[in-house]
Symmetry: C2
Subunit: 332 residues, 2 copies
Amino acid sequence: MATIYDVARHAEVSVATVSRVLNGSSVDPAMAERVTQAVTALRYRPNLVARNLRTRRTRLWAVIISDVRNPFFTDMVRGIEDVASAEGYSVVLCNSDEDAAKEADYVDVALAERMAGVILSPSSGRTTHINSLVGAGCPVVLVDRELGGVRADAVLTDNEQGAALATRHLVEQGFERIACVTGPQEYSTAAQRLRGYRAALAEAGRDEDGSLVRFADFREPGGHAAMTSLLDSPMRPDAVFVANNLMTIGVLRCLAEHALSVPADVGVVGFDELPWAEFARPTITTVGQPTYDEGRAAAEALARRIGSPDTEPTRTVLSTSLHVRESSLRER
Amino acid sequence: MATIYDVARHAEVSVATVSRVLNGSSVDPAMAERVTQAVTALRYRPNLVARNLRTRRTRLWAVIISDVRNPFFTDMVRGIEDVASAEGYSVVLCNSDEDAAKEADYVDVALAERMAGVILSPSSGRTTHINSLVGAGCPVVLVDRELGGVRADAVLTDNEQGAALATRHLVEQGFERIACVTGPQEYSTAAQRLRGYRAALAEAGRDEDGSLVRFADFREPGGHAAMTSLLDSPMRPDAVFVANNLMTIGVLRCLAEHALSVPADVGVVGFDELPWAEFARPTITTVGQPTYDEGRAAAEALARRIGSPDTEPTRTVLSTSLHVRESSLRER
DNA sequence: TTGTACGCGTTATCAG
DNA sequence: CTGATAACGCGTACAA
């Protein structure tokens, strides 16, 4: 593979001149022409590894997401990519698969490869590897989940508002015993969505003693198990608010297995949009997040952070919206 | 950020010794101990950019997929990741978004960053940028789609077999006018699935004059438009084989809009598994691909290619399987 | 086994 | 504006 020296020799100029042509400094037009000729003739491609070493920076952003198969994250990536390419960065995606160890590995790689910045949706409450990233001066933006004790920008959705929206809707529909299946307590999203659920019930003057709350794992089997447990409980619910998309699938599967009809026997509202929400029968009521805009916001925050590393961390909170569909409508 | 020189000074050894400790060469235990102490004390992290430059290689694989929101590709990524990490590589995902220009950009980055290898699901019939990658000596494996004139390993599924399976099933169910919505003609997958459809019809002794075939774009709106066109045609079909997952969604939406019931009015079989195939009402019959194994196979091919760059390109073809569900069952 | 010194391919500095 | 040359941080002959 040709180097800048080969190009210089071929064009009969110095390597400095070649470098200048490549980077847009002002050079004599005739020389520049010879250089570009040589570049195409030799099929020269600048070695970014060498450039990165010399300039001590990269044009690469790492986006470490906790689950590539969750449409919530992949939708967000689109927003990130659009901003990144406008800012002149390339995006590489890393899938931590909800595994803290894999996440730590990718954080290591991002640091060791001297990536220009990292957008991360944390896969656990562990913060040491993230703090070492921040401590090393790598620009970091957290998305979706908040992490106590990490000084980094964060882009979040108003989980409490969304959960309250969902729960209030179920109350208004006349459901009596509204359950909540939320995620692991150490995730800020799980805690906030639970809080929104409780706030809406309190607002309606209802007692909530915790017997209708289940903590699961944000994955499908967890949702299934939680719903099973709820159905087995003495206070059998007639509606359920499920705090993320994958668990909603588990809940629906469980209800189907018990031959319970939705919403006649049990009303359902899920957090996160489902790409096929309108396809299921009944169609599924969901709390939607502005995923694309969330991606954009995260990318913009990262760009700002790179531009001014020493400003205070920002915290951006986006609003959710309720998409009412059949699964939560009380038949009269 | 600390360099290897800082560590050497702190441990009172030479940089060579530090490097040896880091890379597992044999050094005096006492010295090694001092080095590791210094490493932790200084929070030293090897600079992979420098290492990559020096060794002229990387431990990164680029996986360039045509659509991060298509579960087919993200499922495959899991298989790739598992093999990659076992082989000591990190995987970075690049989303070309079915856009040949973005794909070319990522290919450029992979080449310029001297990535160890590339797994690519082509986004178009264009081959020049891919050939320049191959020509530059970068190990490349193509997945899902075949590309004429590119000397690279390929991991594919038996599209013709899968399409025939689907079509034969519709024939056996007694459907009379079986349509086919396939993808752009320049994609090998689209052509092969169409061929399988035709083969199965011929096998059943049926004429097929092309009036029930539509070429769409492998995306949802394309599927919708194709189905609309089929419903408007004189030979209105009573069943349809749809050649990928996203178009299947478009077809289903179109049928719902026309208040046609599936499978009573129109039977449906889709290519590619849908994560919610069992959730829709009716449940959707699909031709499933072994996505995880396909990912593994691609990664294994890449590892082999890196190990022996000059062997002949291989071509791995995996089998599909038909998942019969309600959407294709003729009611009697 | 250990240390010295060179080179990987760029960009940046400094004379000219 | 151009060219020679010193870094960037690391691995590895080579010599000790």
